[in-house]
C-alpha cells in the first residue's frame, strides 16, 4: 500500500488516475481509517488531500460560498458567513461525530463516504449545493444529490475527486434548517435526517423549497413532493401536514436496532414538520 501526500489537485488527480487496484482519496480519514483497520477495505493507494492548500479555502464567490474539500467541519462551523447564510448546513456538519472527530472530518468526505445516514448530505441537498468535480478530463459541476448512488458508492469516475462544494446564495426571505433523530443525545448515526430550505415572497407565500431526507433509503433523497407541499402555501399546518405525509411516503427505511420501519417512516414526517418550522422562522427573519 502506498500513501501519497500531493501538494496540488492536479497531482492528486494524476496519482488517482494512474494507480492500479483500489485507490482512496483521504481527507480527514475519520471514516477511512476505521474501515481500513477493520479490514473492510484494503487499498493499494491512499492519496492524502489534506496537504493541498487549495482545498483548505472557504471563499465567497459571486454566486455563493465555496468550501474546499479539506476544510474540517470544526472550521466551517466557526466561519461567520457559513453560519449566517447556511445555518442548516452548519447544523448538519456540526453533528458529524464529536468535537474530536470534527477537528479532522470534512463535509466533502462525509458526502463521498456515501452513507445514507450521512448528516451533512440532506442539508446540502436542501441547500442546492453543487459539487465541483475535478478529474483527468477536466472539471464539472454536479448537484450533490447526484454524488451518492448507493451505500458506499458514488458517481465519481476514476481519477476524480470533489475539489469543493458551492453553497449557492439564497434569495431574500430564505431560511434553512437541519434536524436529525438519534436515540442518544449526541454522537450517533442518524435514524432520520431532514434538511429543508425554503424561500418566501413578500407576502409570506413559499415560492421555492427543497427537502433532503436521509437515513430512510439507500441514498439521501431529494423529496420533490415534499417541496411541492410547501410551495404556494404560507407553510401553515395544512402544508406541514402535507409535507410530513410526503416525507413519510418517500421513506423506505430498514428495520434496525435504532428504530423500526414504522417508527422511521413516521419520524421522517414529524421531523420534517419541525425542520420546516425552523426554516420558516429563519426565512421570515431574512
Amino acid at each position: 500500500m502506498r500513501f501519497e501526500s500531493p501538494a496540488t489537485v492536479a497531482e492528486a488527480v494524476t496519482l488517482l488516475n494512474e494507480a492500479t487496484g483500489t485507490v482512496y482519496p483521504m481527507a480527514g480519514g475519520t471514516d477511512l481509517l476505521v474501515r481500513l483497520r477493520s479490514g473492510f477495505v484494503e487499498p493499494d493507494l491512499i492519496v492524502d488531500l489534506k496537504r493541498i492548500d487549495a482545498l483548505h479555502m472557504i471563499v465567497q464567490e459571486a454566486d455563493g460560498l465555496r468550501v474546499g474539500a479539506a476544510v474540517p467541519s470544526a472550521e466551517l462551523n466557526e466561519h461567520a458567513d457559513a453560519l449566517a447564510g447556511w445555518p442548516g448546513v452548519c447544523e448538519a456538519t456540526g453533528l458529524i461525530g464529536s468535537t474530536q472527530v470534527q477537528g479532522r472530518c470534512t463535509m466533502v468526505g462525509n458526502l463521498c463516504n456515501a452513507s445514507p445516514a450521512a448528516d451533512s448530505v440532506p442539508a446540502l441537498v436542501a441547500a442546492g449545493a453543487i459539487a465541483r468535480v475535478v478529474g483527468p478530463n477536466g472539471t464539472r459541476d454536479v448537484p450533490v444529490e447526484e454524488i451518492p448512488t448507493a451505500p458506499g458508492r458514488t458517481s465519481l469516475k476514476k481519477g476524480e475527486i470533489i475539489e469543493s462544494v458551492l453553497l449557492p446564495t439564497k434569495p431574500a426571505h430564505s431560511g434553512e434548517a437541519y434536524l436529525r433523530f438519534i436515540p442518544r443525545t449526541e454522537m450517533d448515526i442518524a435514524v432520520v435526517g431532514v434538511g429543508i430550505s425554503l424561500t418566501l415572497d413578500d407576502s409570506g407565500i413559499c415560492t421555492d423549497a427543497r427537502v433532503g431526507l436521509g437515513a430512510v433509503a439507500a441514498t439521501v433523497l431529494l423529496v420533490e413532493d415534499a417541496a411541492k407541499a410547501l410551495i404556494g402555501t404560507k407553510v401553515d399546518d395544512a402544508a406541514l401536514d402535507a409535507l410530513a405525509a410526503a416525507c413519510s411516503a418517500a421513506a423506505s427505511p430498514i428495520n434496525d436496532k435504532r428504530g423500526t420501519i414504522e417508527f422511521r417512516v413516521e419520524i421522517a414526517g414529524t421531523l420534517a414538520r419541525r425542520a420546516a418550522k425552523i426554516a420558516l422562522a429563519r426565512a421570515q427573519q431574512n
Binding site: R2, S5, G29, P183, R184, T185, V191, T260
Partner: protein, 917 residues
C-alpha cells in the same frame, strides 16, 4: 494487508509535547498506535479505534482530535500535545488536574486523558466556559465510571482554590491515588509492556456455534513468520475455568466445538508488526456451523451443551415464604406484568489486556483485574502449576463493573510466555472485548403483587428466566441472588420466587453491578406504581408504608434489628418528590407535545457473597525508619478502595491518612482481600482494615502501657505516644522486629457472618443490606418518543459514609449506568460489537444528580459503613420507566426504552384506552 509489504517512506517528523520527534512507521498507521508504541506516549489511551470513545484525544496544532482516526502520515510538521505533555507545560492543564482531583472527576482514569485534553482546548479558548460549552467539548469522550457530572464541575471550576480536607473516616478527601490519573502517568494493562514485547492475538470463531478442524498450523506459522501458535492441545493443565465452585466450565481454547460467536480456537504469537498485520480470516481452521440458540426459549432444542445440565438449564433459584398464591387470591388488588431486559455490556473504556513473563519456574502476569487471587487460582489450574508459581500483579484498572472478575486475556499470555520464555502481551480490540466479555443477564420476568385495600402488600410471585450464555460464569450467583431480592426492600409476608439460568450460544452472562437485582427491580417497582395508582395512594407513600423496618423479617426470614434504612431514604426524598410533582404539574398545564413525568423506585442489595464465606485480609507494618505501610489488596477499579481502605485503617490506628504508604495488590506481597464485587470491599476489606489498624494500635498502646485515648504518631525512626501523662518515645531500632520487613506487623481478616439458606431459601444470606430510593424527573416528547432526563435525586443509606465525595462518585456513576440500561443499551451478538452501535450514555445524556446520603449505621460494617457500588443503579431504570409512564401514560416493559418503543407504547395507549394500567 500486511504492513511489512508497505513501502517504507522516510519517517514522519513532528513536535511532540514540545520536543521534535521523528517516527518511523507506515504513514497510514493510526497516530494513536504510533504515539503509544513508537513514540512512547502511553498517556494516549485507546478505547475503541473508531473515533467513538475519545480516550485518545490529543491536540494537533491546538485542536482536539481523535488520534485513532488520524493517519500518522498526516501529521508531518504538526504540533502535537498529549495529557502528560500538557500537565508538564501548560498552567491551565495543571489547574485542571487540581480541579479534577478536588471534584473526583477521575475515577478509574482511563478516559481522563481524553477528557482533560479536550477540556484544555476549550479552556485555552475561554477561561470560564458555561456548562453547554463544556458538554459540547466533552461530548465525544465517553466515561463509564463517573456519570460525567463531576467532570463538568471540574472543568467549570478550573482555577478554583477550595482545598479538600484530608482525614480518616467521614472525610471527603481527594483520592489518594489520583495524581497519576490526572497527570498522564497512570499505567493500565496495555501500558506496561516493554518495547518489542511479542504480541498475541486470538483466532475467534465467527459462528454462534460450530464444530471446527484445524489445518496445517506449522505451515501457517512458517509462512507468516510467527513465533508460536497455541491451541487446546497446548493447554498443560485442566482446560476449564470459572468463578463458582462446581461450575468451572469454560475452556480457554474451544475443544472441537465452539459455543458462542467470538470464542477462541487458537492464538498466534509473534512480533508486533507481523501479528498486527495478519488477516486472521486466513488462519487454517474450517468451521462447521451447528444448530444454535440465542434465546432461552430455543435452548431446549439444541442438545445439552454441558453434561449434567439437562435442557441447558444451568441452575435454578428459589425462595418461598408463607403462601403467596392464597395471599394473591385474597388481595384487594393485584398488579401483574411481563418484563424483559437485554444483554448489557459493561463498556469499560479500557479493553482487556495483559502481559506475562516467565521468571524461572514461575509465571508473572500484569493485567487489569477485579480479582487477582481468583485469577491466580484459575491460571494455576489451567497451566497445571501450583498456585505459588503464579504471580498476579494488577495494573491500574480502566473500569470493571463485574466483567474483569473473570479470566479473559490473562491465561493466553501466561501460557505463551511460559512456552516461549519471553514476555508476551495481548490487548483485546473493542470488538473482541464486546463480543466475548461477560454481560448482564438478559431477563424475562413475570411478576404478580397483591395488596389489601389499605395499601399493605400481602404477597408476591416472581418468575425469572435469565439467559446465562454459553458458560456459567456468575450465572449461579444471579440465579440465587435474584429470588432473595425480587421483593424489593418491602415487607412481603407471602412470597414465592423462582429463577432459572438457561444456557444459550451467546457470550457468557456474568457479574454486572447488581447481579440480576436491577432486572428484578424493573418488574417489581413498576408494579408498585400500578398498585399505588389502583388504590389512589401516592406512589412514595405506598412504598414507604410497605418498606422494611428494623425488626421486620425479609423474604428469607432474616431480621435486622438495626440499620434497615429504606424508610429514611423515602423520608429524605419526600420534599423533593413533592416539589418534582408540583413542577411537573405546572409544566404540563401548559400543554404541548412534551410532557413531564416523575418516577420513584426503591432498591436494596445484600453486600458480599450469598451465604458463602468471603473473607478479606489486610496486612500492615511499621518499618525500621518509621513508615506505616498498608498492604491493601482490594482492587481499586475506580470506585476508590485505595482511599477508603486507607481512611478506615488510618482512623483505626489513629494516624493521619496522608502519612500511610500503600502497597497495592500483588499476590506476592499483599494478602488476599477477595474480589472487588458485590459491594463488599468497603464492608468486608474495610472491616479487615479496621481490625488490622485496631490490632496495631493495641500493640502500640500495650507497649507504652497507656490508655485507649492516647495519640500515636509514627515517623523518623520512632513511635511517639502521647496522653495526659505526656509523650513517650520508642525508637524502632530498640524494639524486637516482627520480621525482616517490619518492626511491627499486623495481619487481620474479616469474614461476614452469614448462614446457609434452607430448601425454601430461608436463612441469613448477607450480614448487611444497603438500601436506596431514587426519583427521576424527565420529559417525554410524545411525538418522537424521546426521553430527556431533567434530574435524578438519589437517596442512599450507606450506613456511614467513609468518604462522602467518593459516595457521590459511586452514586453518579451507577445512575449513569442505570440510565443506559433504561434508555439505550442492548448488546446483540454480532450486531452491536462496537461503541457506535452499542450506545452508552454520553455527557449529554446524564442530567444533574443530587445525592442524599443517609447514615443509618450498621451492626457489622466498619464504623457502620455498608457497601454501595451495586445499589446505585438498581432504582434508576425503574424510576425512569415509572416517570415515562407518569408523563405519557405509556408503560414500556421491554427494555431498552428506545424512542421507537416509547412511541409505540404511546400509540398503543392512545389506541386502546382500556389498556391503562
Amino acid at each position: 494487508m500486511a504492513l511489512t509489504d508497505i513501502d517504507h517512506q522516510p519517517g514522519i517528523s513532528f513536535s511532540l509535547n514540545g520536543k521534535p520527534v521523528r517516527v518511523d512507521g507506515p504513514p497510514s498507521e493510526r497516530l494513536s498506535y504510533a504515539l503509544r508504541e513508537r513514540a512512547g506516549t502511553r498517556d494516549v489511551k485507546v478505547g475503541c479505534d473508531a473515533g467513538d470513545c475519545g480516550a485518545c484525544t490529543i491536540l494537533i496544532d491546538g485542536n482536539p482530535v481523535c488520534a485513532c482516526t488520524t493517519a500518522l502520515g498526516q501529521v508531518d510538521g504538526a504540533v502535537i500535545e498529549t495529557q502528560a505533555g500538557l500537565f508538564a507545560a501548560d498552567p491551565i492543564a495543571k489547574d485542571l488536574a487540581a480541579s479534577f482531583q478536588r471534584h473526583q472527576a477521575a475515577q478509574c482514569g482511563i478516559c481522563t486523558p481524553g477528557m482533560m485534553v479536550s477540556a484544555v482546548a476549550l479552556l485555552r479558548d475561554r477561561s470560564k466556559p458555561d456548562q453547554a460549552a463544556v458538554e459540547d467539548a466533552l461530548g465525544g469522550v465517553l466515561c463509564r465510571c463517573t456519570g460525567y457530572r463531576k467532570i463538568i464541575d471540574a472543568v467549570m471550576d478550573c482555577g478554583g482554590t477550595t482545598a479538600n480536607p484530608v482525614g480518616g473516616v467521614g472525610t471527603p478527601m481527594a483520592r489518594v491515588d489520583g495524581l497519576p490519573k490526572v497527570s498522564g502517568t497512570e499505567r493500565f494493562a496495555d501500558d506496561v509492556a516493554a518495547e518489542g514485547t511479542l504480541v498475541l492475538r486470538l483466532v475467534r470463531c465467527p459462528h454462534h456455534r460450530a464444530g471446527f478442524e484445524l489445518g496445517d498450523l506449522d505451515a501457517y506459522k512458517l509462512r507468516t513468520g510467527l513465533d508460536l501458535i497455541l491451541t487446546v492441545a497446548d493447554v498443560p493443565g485442566d482446560n476449564r475455568f470459572g468463578v463458582i465452585p462446581g461450575f468451572e466450565d469454560q475452556p480457554i481454547f474451544a475443544d472441537g466445538e465452539t459455543r458462542f460467536k467470538g470464542e477462541a480456537v487458537a492464538a498466534v504469537v509473534g512480533s508486533a508488526d507481523i501479528v498486527n498485520a495478519l488477516d486472521l480470516t486466513e488462519f487454517p481452521v474450517t468451521y462447521t456451523p451447528l444448530p444454535h440458540a440465542l434465546l432461552p426459549k430455543d435452548a431446549a432444542g439444541i442438545g445439552d451443551m454441558h453434561k449434567g445440565r439437562d435442557g441447558n438449564v444451568m441452575c435454578r433459584g428459589f425462595v418461598k415464604r408463607g403462601d403467596a398464591s392464597a395471599a394473591l387470591q385474597s388481595a384487594a388488588v393485584v398488579a401483574e406484568g411481563s418484563f424483559s431486559t437485554g444483554f448489557i455490556e459493561h463498556g469499560y473504556i479500557e479493553p482487556e489486556a495483559a502481559v506475562a513473563r516467565r521468571v524461572g519456574d514461575r509465571i508473572e502476569v500484569q493485567c487489569c483485574t477485579q480479582a487477582p487471587v481468583m485469577n491466580q487460582d484459575g491460571i494455576a489450574i489451567l497451566m497445571g502449576l501450583p498456585k505459588e508459581s503464579v504471580r498476579i500483579i494488577p495494573t491500574a484498572v480502566g473500569g470493571g463493573f463485574g466483567s474483569k472478575l473473570d479470566l479473559t486475556a490473562q491465561p493466553y499470555v501466561a501460557l505463551a510466555a511460559w512456552v516461549l520464555n519471553k514476555p508476551v502481551r495481548v490487548t483485546y480490540s473493542r470488538i473482541e472485548s464486546i463480543s466475548t466479555s461477560t454481560k448482564r443477564h438478559p431477563s424475562e420476568i413475570t411478576m404478580r403483587i397483591g395488596a389489601d385495600a389499605d395499601g399493605t402488600i400481602v404477597g408476591a410471585e416472581f418468575d425469572g428466566i435469565f439467559n446465562t450464555g454459553a458458560y456459567a460464569s456468575w450465572g449461579p450467583t444471579v440465579a440465587n441472588r435474584v429470588p432473595i431480592h425480587a421483593s424489593g426492600p418491602y415487607k412481603t409476608p407471602n412470597y414465592l420466587a423462582r429463577s432459572a439460568g438457561i444456557h444459550t450460544n451467546t457470550a457468557p452472562s456474568g457479574a454486572f453491578r447488581g447481579f440480576g437485582v436491577p432486572q428484578s427491580a424493573l418488574a417489581q417497582e413498576p408494579l408498585y406504581d400500578d398498585l399505588a395508582d389502583a388504590l389512589g395512594i401516592d406512589r412514595l407513600e405506598f412504598r414507604r408504608r410497605n418498606a422494611l423496618r428494623n425488626g421486620d423479617p425479609t423474604v428469607t426470614g432474616q431480621v435486622f434489628e438495626t440499620g434497615m434504612g429504606i424508610v429514611e431514604c423515602f423520608d429524605v426524598l419526600e420534599p423533593h418528590w413533592k416539589r418534582a410533582l408540583a413542577d411537573a404539574a405546572t409544566a404540563n398545564a401548559k400543554g404541548g407535545t412534551v410532557r413531564r413525568g416523575v418516577g420513584i423506585a426503591g432498591g436494596w442489595y445484600g453486600c458480599g457473597n450469598t451465604s458463602l464465606s468471603n473473607p478479606s485480609t489486610i496486612r500492615a507494618g511499621i518499618t525500621l525508619d518509621g513508615h506505616v505501610v498498608l498492604h491493601q489488596g482490594a482492587m481499586d477499579i475506580g470506585q476508590g478502595a485505595n482511599t477508603v481502605i486507607a481512611q478506615i485503617f488510618a482512623t483505626a490506628l489513629g494516624v493521619p491518612v496522608d502519612g500511610i504508604d500503600i502497597v497495592g495488590p500483588d499476590t506476592d506481597v499483599t494478602p488476599d482481600a477477595g474480589k472487588t464485587s458485590a459491594s463488599r470491599q468497603t464492608f468486608v476489606t474495610g472491616n479487615a482494615a479496621r481490625l488490622c489498624g485496631e490490632a496495631m494500635r493495641a500493640r502500640i498502646l500495650r507497649l507504652a502501657n497507656v490508655s485507649g485515648d492516647a495519640e500515636i504518631s509514627v515517623g523518623d525512626g520512632a513511635i511517639r505516644v502521647r496522653d495526659d501523662g505526656g509523650e513517650r518515645l520508642f525508637p524502632l531500632d530498640t524494639l524486637t522486629p516482627d520480621n525482616a520487613t517490619y518492626v511491627l506487623e499486623s495481619v487481620e481478616s474479616y469474614d461476614p457472618p452469614t448462614l446457609p439458606l434452607d430448601e425454601n431459601g430461608q436463612g441469613v444470606p448477607y450480614a448487611v443490606f444497603g438500601t436506596t430510593a431514587q426519583i427521576a424527573e424527565l420529559e417525554v416528547d410524545l411525538e418522537l418518543g424521546t426521553v430527556k432526563l431533567l434530574k435524578i435525586t438519589a437517596a442512599h443509606d450507606v450506613g456511614k459514609a467513609i468518604n462522602p465525595l467518593l459516595v457521590e462518585g459511586q452514586v453518579q456513576g451507577g445512575v449513569a449506568q442505570g440510565i443506559g440500561l433504561a434508555l439505550m443499551e442492548e448488546f446483540l451478538p454480532g450486531r452491536t460489537e462496537n461503541l457506535h452501535d452499542y450506545l452508552i450514555p454520553t455527557v449529554g445524556d446524564v442530567p444533574p444528580i443530587e445525592t442524599l446520603i443517609v447514615e443509618s449505621g450498621d451492626e457489622h460494617g466498619p464504623y457502620g459503613a455498608k457497601g454501595l457500588g451495586e445499589h446505585c443503579l438498581i432504582p434508576t431504570a425503574p424510576a425512569i420507566l415509572n416517570a415515562i409512564k407518569h408523563a405519557s401514560g405509556a408503560r414500556v416493559a421491554h427494555l431498552p426504552a428506545t424512542p421507537d418503543r416509547v412511541r409505540a407504547a404511546i400509540l398503543a395507549q392512545t389506541q386502546s384506552p382500556s389498556a391503562k394500567n
